[in-house]
Symmetry: C2
Subunit: 405 residues, 2 copies
C-alpha cells in the first residue's frame, strides 16, 4: 500500500550556505501551504564541504579507506541536516534531524561505496504522526558493526529514493539547481529544452552516459520499485521533469525517436596493436582491469595479419592504473592513449522499433566531418567516442537532426 508521504531531497548547492538553507526552509514552507502530505527531507552536505573533508583526509593519509574515512565524510551531512532543521524550526515548522544510525539505514561494510540493505521506518513514522518533519542525512548508512558507512559520490539521491521506497512514499522529489532534466547540457547545446517526462530506462542510460543530474543507483532503485521521481528546481516554483514507468508516460502522442543527447568528457581510449591472437588473452586482460576496479566501457577488436587490434575506453581517472596493467601483460605492445576525446550519445526508448536511427546518427556526424574512434549501441542508445574538439558541433547537430531544438 502506498502512503501519501512525499520525500524531498536537497542537493549540495541547494544547501550551500546559511542563506540557501533558509531559502530551502522557505520553499518547504511554501510547498506545505498548498500540500498537506507529510514530508520527509533528505539533504546532502553543503556544496564544497565533502571536497574539503576529502582534502583533509588526503593530507593526513593519502589513499586510506576504512571506517575512519567514512566517518570523516559523513560529518558533512550532519552539519547540513542540523542547520536545515534549525531553519525549519525558525519558520515555525517542527523538524528533527536524523543521522543514518538514528533512522536505522543499514548497509553492507563496503566503506566509501556501501549499499543499503534495509531501512527501519519506525522512528520516522512516529515523528510524521506527530507532525514533525524528519530531516535525514543523505549519503550515509551504518553497518552491522555500528560503523558509519558512505554510499559513494552522489549517494544522497540513493538515500532519498531508498527512504521513499521504505516509507512506501507516493513520490520522491529531487531538488537541484536546474529546473529539470534537459534534452542536452545547455552549456554545450544552447537550444536544449527541459524534458517534461521520461522513463526509468532512459534516465539510467543517461546517467551511465555522463548525465550528472541523478546518481545512477537511485534511478535503478526507483525503477525496481516503480517509484515516480521528479527532478525540479529548488529556487523556482515550477514543475520539473518526471521520471516514471514507460507505460505511464503519455502515449497518446507519437513518442519521439530520441529523448536526449548526453555527453561525457571524462573518457579516454587505449589502442593496442598488435596483440597475440585469441579471445583468451583479452579475457585475461579485462579480468585484471576489472580486479583493479577499472570499468571498461566501449570495446572494439579486429583480426589483423600480425594477430589482433584492440581499442577500449576507460574513465580518465583510471588512465594511470590501466597503463600499469597493460605494461604488465604486454610490455612490448605498441600502446596509444587518446585522452582528448569525448563520448556523445543519443538516448530514447522511441528508437527501439526504428532500425534507421543509428544510420542517421552516423550520417549526421559524417556530414559534419566528425571522425569516430569507437562506437557502441544498445536497444535505446547509440554512442560514439569522438575528438573533444568536435563535441559541441556534434551535439548541436544531433540535437537539431533528431528534432529536439
Amino acid at each position: 500500500m502506498v502512503s501519501n508521504i512525499c520525500v524531498k531531497k536537497f542537493g549540495g548547492t541547494s544547501v550551500g550556505s546559511t542563506e540557501r538553507i533558509e531559502a530551502v526552509a522557505d520553499r518547504i514552507l511554501k510547498e506545505r501551504e498548498k500540500d498537506s502530505r507529510p514530508y520527509v527531507i533528505v539533504a546532502s552536505a553543503m556544496a564544497g564541504e565533502t571536497n574539503r573533508l576529502v582534502d583533509l583526509a588526503n593530507r593526513t593519509y593519502l589513499g586510506f579507506r576504512g571506517p575512519a574515512y567514512d566517518m570523516l565524510l559523513a560529518s558533512g551531512e550532519q552539519v547540513s541536516i542540523a542547520l536545515l532543521s534549525m531553519a525549519l524550526e525558525k519558520k515555525g515548522l517542527k523538524a528533527k534531524p536524523y543521522l543514518a544510525h538514528q533512522v536505522g539505514i543499514k548497509t553492507d561494510s563496503m566503506y566509501s561505496r556501501a549499499r543499503i540493505k534495509e531501512i527501519k521506518t519506525e522512528p520516522l513514522m512516529k515523528d510524521i504522526q506527530s507532525g514533525i518533519i524528519p530531516v535525514v542525512a543523505g549519503f550515509q548508512g551504518v553497518d552491522e558493526f555500528d560503523n558509519i558507512t558512505t554510499l559513494g559520490r552522489g549517494g544522497s539521491d540513493t538515500s532519498a529514493v531508498a527512504l521513499a521506497v521504505a516509507l512506501k512514499a507516493q513520490d520522491c522529489e529531487i531538488y537541484t539547481d536546474v529546473p529539470g532534466v534537459f534534452s542536452a547540457d545547455p552549456r554545450i547545446v544552447p537550444k536544449a529544452k527541459k524534458i517534461p517526462s521520461l522513463c526509468f530506462e532512459e534516465m539510467v542510460e543517461m546517467a551511465s552516459l555522463g548525465s550528472k543530474v541523478l546518481h545512477i543507483r537511485s534511478v535503478e532503485i526507483a525503477a525496481k520499485f516503480q517509484l515516480k521521481l521528479q527532478v525540479r528546481s529548488t529556487f523556482e516554483m515550477t514543475e520539473g521533469t518526471w521520471i516514471m514507468n514507460e507505460n505511464e508516460l503519455n502515449t497518446s502522442m507519437e513518442s519521439p525517436l530520441v529523448t536526449a543527447i548526453t555527453h561525457d568528457t571524462q573518457t579516454a581510449i587505449f589502442k593496442l596493436v598488435p596483440l597475440p591472437q585469441g579471445a583468451e588473452v583479452l579475457a585475461q586482460l579485462f579480468a585484471r582491469l576489472s580486479e583493479k576496479g577499472i570499468v571498461v566501457d566501449v570495446i572494439s577488436q579486429s583480426e589483423i595479419d600480425q594477430g589482433q587490434r584492440l581499442a577500449f575506453s576507460v574513465p580518465v581517472e583510471d588512465i594511470i592504473q590501466t597503463k600499469q596493467v597493460i605494461s604488465e601483460f604486454f610490455p612490448k605492445v605498441d600502446t596509444t592513449v587518446l585522452d582528448q576525446v569525448s563520448k556523445v550519445s543519443i538516448v530514447g526508448v522511441g528508437m527501439r522499433n526504428h532500425p534507421g536511427v543509428a544510420a542517421k546518427f552516423f550520417n549526421v556526424l559524417a556530414q559534419n566531418k566528425v571522425p569516430i574512434h569507437l562506437v557502441t549501441t544498445s536497444e535505446i542508445k547509440v554512442s560514439a567516442i569522438i575528438d573533444r574538439k568536435d563535441l559541441e558541433k556534434s551535439a548541436q547537430a544531433l540535437h537539431s537532426a533528431f528534432g529536439l531544438d
Copy 2:
C-alpha cells in the same frame, strides 16, 4: 581495581591542522616506544572549528538550543577523531575512531550542557585487548532518546576524565599547548613558573577563578574518584603538572602558603543603592537571576539610612540579562555597572592554618595603591575585584610577595 590504561586527551590547538594531527600521532608513537601501557585517546575539535559551527548556527537561528544544535557542534570532534585515527594508522599503529554513541557515553538531556551519567566500556576494552588504540570524540554524549548531546565548552576534559574513571585508568594526561599549570598567567606575570604538582582542591578553585587550563567539572570528577591528572605539553617531551590528592603530594617540605595567582577579566560589578530593607528582597532578586542562568559570584551588602546598599559581580556575558532583571524589580533604583574590572585571587591549601594570609594580601594591594571593589575568601583562597588597569601590577606584586617568583 585500577587497570594500567592511560587516557590521553588532546585539545583543539593540538589537533588544529593536519600537520599538528600528524605531530600528535608522532608523539603517541614516541610515548608508545617507552611505555607499553594501553592507551585510550580523547580529542577535541580542531581549533576554530567549534567557533565556525556556532557561527553557522547563529546565522541560521540565533539563540536556538536543542538536539539539532548539539548534533551540529558534535560534528567537529567527528572530524578530528577520524583524522587522528588515520594519522595513527599511517604511523603503523592500529586505531579506531569512536563517537559517543558508539562507545556508549550516556548523558542526561540537558542539551549544550549535558552531564555524563554512565559510560559503557565493553567496546573499548575489546579493542584494547586486540592492541587497537581507541580514539574517542570528546565533548559529546548520547541521551536516552538516542540524540547527540554536548557537554558545554571545554567538555572534552570532562570526557577524558570520565572515560578514565570508567576504565579504572591509572592516570589521565591532558595534552595542551602549554607545558603545565603555571603559578600565574605568564602573559601577565612574566616570572610565573610551572607548578610541579598541586592538589585537586587548588585546581578546582583556580578553574573557578579564571584559570582556563582545565574544565572545572573534569577536576571535580577527578577529585571525586581520586584520579591523578597530568597537564603537559603536546609538543615538548617534558613532565607536566600533576594534580592529585592532597595527602599524596610531597609533604616532607613545608608547603607554600600560596600555590598560584589566578585572574579573571570577564567579570563585571553591579552596584544598587538604595534598596528596600530586609533579606527577602535580596532573596527574590537572586532567585530570579538564578532562574535566568546567571551565576552571581561575589556579593556585598550593607545597611544604610535609606535601606540597604548592594553590590555583586556577574560574568561579563550576562550584563544585559542582569540589567533586565534589575529593571523589572527595581525600576527606580540607582544602578551602576562597572565593566572595566578584573578579579585577582591567591589560591593555596597552605593558607588553611595561616590566618595572616588575607591581611598580607590586602597589604600588598594597599602598598601598590590598588583600590578594592569587592572581596571574597574561602579556606584556600582570597579574591578581590579591582580595576582592570591595576591587574598586572597587582598580580606581579602578589606573585613576588608570596614567594612565587
